[in-house]
Symmetry: C2
DNA sequence: ACATTTTTATACTAACTGGTATTTTAAAAT
DNA sequence: ATTTTAAAATACCAGTTAGTATAAAAATGT
């Protein structure tokens, strides 16, 4: 909606590519851990000066916020797309499980899960965004299960609210395990089996 | 086995209480996170000088190692005691779940889980101890499930190896949730329900 | 040409980190 | 009493962190 482009005014033209810096930061935090990479390091890797980064992002909190925001847009977008997809309920669950447990994009885990784990060290803006993404994810899973219940595809004794929290927790666990170099597939399948309706 | 007491020789008598320092470090790491408390801070809180701590523990790795070792001895001991207990299989599972999900001793989570999450920032000795405790835990759960299978109390299609890893992962998840201020009880119950034998 | 505006690059700060060299102190052995 | 041993306290070190003051550069407006 809002454009980043500001009609090029008087001063020296800007060479700093904000999206590029955000991307460098996002990948650094994602692959190496959000507390493992300093501002100095990000600036060096992005090939930009430190004052430029501070002008654009304010402080480390602002940069972490931008990185997480950018991450969430793409990853949460994929989950929402699966939910909105026209497919049967169990396939949607499988697709979400596959996305987190097997897709190579999550080979090193999930930036959100890592930032949540390091929440104590994050700044206030980033903390708030973590909470916001958390509830958006829960909402997404709640929507999925509400769908399933409405269509009768998900009929068991588990409440939608508990199911959504469970799904969220198990996917987070799988992503955490991937970050530790484990293969979470079998464990996640087992965990999600409790959401399956009885064989009836 | 080995005694820490060394016949008091010639020099100035030692006033530093190694067990006390270890305890201060353990609780600091446990409650605030192993990367949140510096050596300076530990020394100040324990009321001892920095060189004394470095003489006793070598470096930060040594102190973290001692803290985790002390923690594991007490907590893993409890789990092993439950397993060795004379009780029926499902009760043992319940007791272990209760220990991690409800006992107030784990109100702030589990030092092992937190150190494992911060493994990248730990020194080599502590890293090795984390791995060692991890496999000891898996072994303990494997033993429990092997028991259950042998007595026929745990008869389902899940392999002992997968079940042990699952139990370990779910308990770790519950402890992680507690560290984040959540109540994991309902989620853990749901997760562990897949280990229950069919109603038959 | 020259002033103005904005961004860039360099160099710096203050606080904190893990770790240590040095001096002081307290005991035992002679 | 004096020497010896070991521990303790103080003060220090080099490196890193987030963040910034200052100056140089590159554009536009007049």
């Amino acid at each position: 909606m809002s454009s980043e482009t500001k009609k090029p005014g008087r001063g020296r033209p800007k060479t700093l590519d904000k999206a590029h810096v955000t991307d460098v930061a996002m990948h650094a935090y994602w692959e190496e851990g959000p507390t493992e990479v300093s501002m100095n390091e990000i600036c060096a890797r992005a090939g930009v000066s430190k004052p430029s980064v501070y002008r654009e992002f304010g402080n480390d909190d602002g940069l972490a916020y931008a990185a997480l925001e950018s991450y969430a847009a793409s990853v949460l977008g994929k989950i929402l797309a699966i939910i909105a997809d026209d497919d049967i309920f169990p396939n949607k669950i499988s697709k979400i499980a596959y996305l987190s447990a097997e897709e190579e994009v999550h080979e090193n885990g999930c930036l959100f899960v890592k930032m949540r784990a390091a929440k104590a060290k994050m700044g206030p803006k980033t903390k708030a965004l973590i909470d916001q993404i958390e509830s958006m994810a829960i909402d997404a899973f709640t929507g999925l299960l509400t769908q399933g219940r409405a269509t009768g595809e998900w009929n068991n004794s588990i409440s939608v609210e508990l199911g959504a929290r469970y799904l969220h927790a198990q996917i987070g666990l799988a992503l955490d395990q991937r970050a530790r170099g484990q293969d979470p597939k079998a464990l996640l399948d087992l965990a999600l089996s409790v959401l399956s309706p009885p064989k009836a």
